[in-house]
Amino acid sequence: MRIACPHCGARDMREFTYLGDATVARPDPSAPGALDRFTDYVYFRDNPAGAHREFWYHAFGCQAWLVVTRDTRTHDILSVESRAAK
């Protein structure tokens, strides 16, 4: 698998580490029901067979956290965005 890092260019997957589901967002820790929401945030995941937005970290490269949209049935990479400030 090769991921086109927006900063570095297309690179083999072994330069990256994986964190999974990027559709979740860290809840407001002070909002009511925070514990339930955090449980959801930390443990419960989208796990689709198809397009999946997921976090990859360009560990050996530029150390940017990327949001990669990838088809989990074919491993085709549909898009890559960076979360690193430019």
Binding site: M1, S30, V42, R83
Partner: protein, 994 residues
């Protein structure tokens, strides 16, 4: 006997002329101890045949005599043990083993010998040993499985013997990129390569054979009016001259991976007895190609009839290959049994080499006259079949059934051709399902993976003309899509007849082999169907069809087709099993490449490594690092003596230890303090400049992630440390927090782990020692108290850092200098410390002292403990959010009977406690019901003169002074221990504040 084995056989099978062999370079080797001769350009198989050896192997299950079936990597029978000693390679295919001088090979899987194999008796039992027989028996008595049945089965199974010794050869990895990867160098591949390369594209051609040319080396054909081999030679010459073309013979593309990544194995030195110096045996290529052209050709199918595995029965195309390419005749009385036009060409090609074909048996009723004309001298049987191949360990005759009845024809070679299977393996590695093509009665590639084009015989286009056209077109298209301007192709040849009628078996007897290598017969397929294994995948797994080293290249198609017939289904409906990498077997060593032995993983070395080596230090692998474990001195003969001395030196004088392995992070920026507040459970924004603080981080799930210290060097400048083990994970976590969670924070950080050589200098004389190194810096308690931190000059003018941190509990400092000075600083510390009785200490003493002081380490931060468990409950700030705060408040994490961090000392001071022991109340059996915790770390305390331990115990903090049993049944140690506070030395901290 000896005489006989060394006497050359004289190559009775070698034709007087022809062949792509170098007659000027004769070679000698040995097969089963017998001398064999050949020429450069031979394979072991062609040499064996030239020497007149036809029986070369015994089959897997029934130990049937086997010969050479093919001339390629699809060979199921002729597997040998190649080389000897630690280089022995079992199951090597004679058909792709290049012959070299001194080659040594042995036949395998027989007892006592190849010719007289007593295990051939299995064949008599074959009715009982059909598919899956072992699932139905060997169940009684139950205890016999491991002791009797399984060892018997294991010994019978398997083919060759592994060397069983460390592989002495080297392997290498390499990466390549190209516009067009061409897989296979037959006419299709060469045409593709030429079209793309002429346009200027970067082209790589991989060919598994040691010679390029594919079937053009084996078949007598013409291209552009010239002999095929001449065209090939010219094409290769032209390609070789182009700067952007790389031709890789002896290189098999074995797998297709995501993103246009192809795995290929180059055999650099397999055609010599041992690799040349500095060369690896094999090189594993990862090829990233924008486009790939799969021109892997087709694999001929056998015919299924009784005795079809008899030595002498060979693929018709193999007969042609041996004759034309190797100038070897496989028999003097040759017959052919075919179901397609192409098989007939064998007669014409062999005739050209002076070998007459005596009979052609075609299963089809009708054969076009211009096809049958190819064998004008032979007896022709149409609508006929060979029903049995007769003979013992060599073919003697065939029994033919035709309209005219049954007759036996004398033959010592039978060429069989059941049609051709496009070699679509690689087109399917990404999961594409092949589709059935009735025209050629074979599967052709479905949608190939992105970027791949399949051409020529691999695509089901069997005629040479079509191969050239398709190849050139694919090369053209690929180059064009890469932005080049290719020109139309020029090579042309006829579209020879290649009609075929499906023909799957003559009979389904127990002697009609479908999967030769696994001895799967027609009877097995029928049995499987009868027992309900009606999915092709069930058939495969129940009978082991297609699971041998040839992965069904030879037999699978017949098996699947037979199943379909038996069930009355169409072949495409029944389907085909999955193609998986590797295309042909690949050595495990090649995948590992250079990462083996001491270089399995890099050993990270500390700045003082060299110096420590000189001290005769014992090193220990701690994760990625190699660290000094202890520094034995003269006459210290066990590690504990050394460690005791090291600890006592620190406690009484001064010692030092390289702690450069700690993860180090430099953090700058206006929001650095705010960022740290969110990372750690405690607060850092309040930290004064020039001060350090201990900090604990949680994971978002509320369990402890890591601990370390963080110093504030300037208002917006921090220096933090992580544990050695977690450095990478913490750094990535921090990047996540910054980039994803809080991008609004203006903070910058980099890893500085390798930048600094950092030494802990500890002991009552630490200040006196350091004073010599950092003068004129004021080290007094007032100027530089416990937990102070600063930048300063070391040894005059080296910019360094000093932190007054203590892991040992003594008056201690961590001093850091740029890593290049680490070695010198170690030497300087030794020299300057001599007057104070200094000793270096290693990780053992470091660990012992941390246990004496009750600091948590990796055994306590095991990913299941909370800050409260470890005694950091009060550090958790209630005034701010931080990672893990919310989840740390889950009910189970707050329970009062959790196992918490406490210390242990043996009730009987002589007793040794061990880490890993479980804690049960005294006097009760050591059973799970009574399990209350565990000892996580132990050390011998030289100060206390007994073993001490740290651990996790249910309600431990409420039970100080009480006793539990430390039960260590795996080491048969049961020790009564007293629960104590996790600090054994100087609990008030007087020493570290000294």
């Amino acid at each position: 006997m000896r005489d006989e084995s060394t006497r050359p056989l004289g190559q009775p099978g070698r034709l007087a002329q022809g062949g792509e062999i170098a007659r000027s370079r004769p070679l000698r080797g040995r097969f089963d101890g017998r001398a064999i001769e050949g020429f450069a350009g031979d394979t072991l198989a062609s040499a064996l045949l030239a020497n007149g050896l036809r029986l070369v192997a015994r089959s897997f299950k029934y130990h049937r005599p086997r010969g050479i079936l093919t001339a390629g990597s699809e060979e199921p029978n002729a597997l040998v043990e190649l080389r000897a000693g630690s280089r022995r390679e079992p199951n090597s295919k004679a058909t792709v083993t290049e012959f070299y001088d001194g080659l040594e090979a042995r036949s395998q899987n027989h007892w006592p010998s190849l010719r007289f194999d007593l295990l051939a008796a299995n064949a008599w039992l074959s009715p009982m040993l059909g598919a899956g027989f072992y699932y139905k028996t060997f169940m009684w008595p139950p205890s016999f499985w491991e002791r009797v049945y399984e060892p018997l089965i294991r010994r019978a199974a398997g083919l060759g013997r592994a060397a069983g010794a460390s592989d002495p050869d080297a392997y290498e990895h390499a990466n390549a990129f190209c516009d067009v990867l061409v897989i296979g160098s037959g006419p299709s591949g060469l045409a593709a390569a030429l079209a793309a390369a002429r346009a200027g594209a970067r082209v790589i051609v991989c060919e598994e054979d040691f010679r390029l040319g594919g079937r053009l080396l084996a078949d007598a054909r013409e291209i552009n009016g010239m002999p095929g081999e001449l065209w090939t030679a010219r094409a290769i010459e032209e390609l070789r001259a182009l700067p952007e073309v790389h031709l890789f013979p002896r290189t098999t593309v074995f797998g297709v991976y995501d993103g246009g990544t192809y795995g290929a194995l180059e055999r650099l030195c397999d055609h010599m007895p041992v690799p040349t110096p500095h060369e690896p045996r094999q090189r594993l290529w990862r090829i990233v190609a924008k486009h790939a052209v799969l021109a892997a050709g087709a694999i001929e199918r056998p015919m299924v009839f009784a005795g079809n595995d008899r030595p002498g029965v060979m693929l018709a195309s193999a007969l042609r290959t041996y004759a034309k390419r190797f100038a070897v005749v496989c028999g003097r009385r040759v017959a052919l049994f075919v179901n397609n036009d192409d098989g007939w060409r064998t007669a014409a090609d062999l005739a050209r080499c002076g070998i007459a074909v005596s009979a052609v048996i075609d299963s089809r009723r009708e054969v076009a006259p211009h096809v049958s004309a190819l064998a004008d001298k032979a007896r022709i049987f149409t609508g006929a079949a060979v029903i049995e191949a007769n003979g013992g360990s060599a073919l003697r005759s065939i029994t033919v059934r035709s309209n005219a009845g049954t007759e036996t024809i004398s033959a010592d070679a039978l060429g069989i051709s059941g049609g051709w299977n496009p070699n679509l393996h690689l087109a399917c590695h990404q999961g594409a399902r092949p589709v059935w093509d009735e025209r050629i009665a074979a599967f052709v590639p479905g949608a190939p993976p992105p970027g791949m084009r399949v051409v020529g015989a691999a695509n089901g286009s069997m005629s040479l003309g079509a191969c050239l056209r398709e190849g050139a077109q694919a090369g053209y298209d690929a180059a064009e899509q890469c932005g080049f301007h290719p020109k139309a192709a020029s090579a042309a040849a006829d579209d020879e007849p290649c009609a075929v009628d499906a023909f799957w078996h003559v009979d389904l007897s127990a002697k009609a082999f479908i999967d030769f290598q696994n001895d799967v017969t027609g009877a097995d397929v029928a049995l499987a169907e009868r027992e309900g294994f009606r999915s092709v995948e069930h058939l495969k797994r129940y009978t082991t069809l297609g699971m041998a080293t040839d992965q069904g290249k030879i037999g699978s198609m017949h098996g699947l087709a037979t199943l379909a017939t038996l069930m009355g289904r169409s072949i495409p409906h029944a389907g085909i099993t999955t193609f998986r990498p590797p295309y042909t077997p690949v050595a495990i060593g090649a995948f590992a490449g250079p990462h083996r032995g001491k270089h399995f993983r890099p050993a990270r070395l500390t700045p003082s490594h060299r110096w420590a080596q000189e001290q005769g230090t014992v090193f220990v692998e701690t994760g990625a690092w190699l660290r000094a474990q202890y520094f034995p001195q003269n006459r210290e003969d066990d590690w504990l003596t050394t460690v005791k001395r090291e600890v006592l030196t620190v406690r009484s004088a001064v010692g030092f230890c390289d702690v450069s392995t700690l993860g180090k992070i430099e953090m700058h920026g206006p929001d650095a303090a705010a960022f740290l507040d969110r990372l750690y459970i405690n607060t850092f924004s309040t930290l004064a400049i020039g001060r350090a603080r201990y900090g604990v981080m949680l994971r978002e799930d509320g369990f402890v992630l890591d601990d370390g210290t963080c110093s504030r060097l300037a208002p917006n400048r921090f220096f933090m440390t992580t544990t050695t083990a977690n450095a990478e994970r913490v750094f990535a976590h921090m990047q996540f927090c910054h980039q994803v969670l809080w991008p609004e924070l203006d903070v910058q950080f980099v890893s500085a782990t390798d930048q600094w050589a950092q030494f802990s200098v500890a002991g009552p004389r630490a200040r006196d020692l350091l004073a010599k190194l950092v003068a004129p810096f004021d080290l007094s308690n007032a100027a530089f108290p416990y937990m102070a931190a600063c930048e300063l000059m070391v040894a005059g003018d080296i910019p360094g850092r000093l932190y007054r941190l203590s892991f040992s509990g003594e008056l201690a400092y961590e001093i850091a200098v740029p890593a290049r000075y680490g070695d010198a600083l170690a030497r300087l510390l030794m020299q300057a410390g001599e007057a104070f009785g200094i000793a270096p200490y290693g990780t053992e003493a470091l660990g012992a002292m941390r246990i004496e002081k009750g600091h948590v380490g990796g055994q306590e931060i095991d990913g299941r403990t909370t800050a409260r468990d470890l005694g950091f409950g009060r550090m958790m700030s209630g005034k701010k959010d931080f990672i893990g705060r919310v989840m740390a408040a889950r009910p189970a994490l707050l329970e009062t009977d959790r196992r918490v961090f406490v210390g242990f000392k043996p009730v009987n001071a002589q007793d040794r406690i061990s880490a890993g022991a479980h804690l049960v109340p005294p006097g009760v059996p050591a059973s799970a019901a009574h399990d209350q915790g565990v000892i996580t770390s132990v050390a011998f305390s030289p100060s206390l003169q007994h073993w001490i331990g740290l651990g996790l115990l249910a309600r431990g903090r409420e039970r100080l002074g009480a006793r539990v049993t430390a039960a260590d049944p795996v080491r048969e140690r049961f020790v009564e221990v007293e629960i104590c506070a996790p600090c054994f030395i100087d609990p008030e901290g007087a020493r570290l504040h000294a």
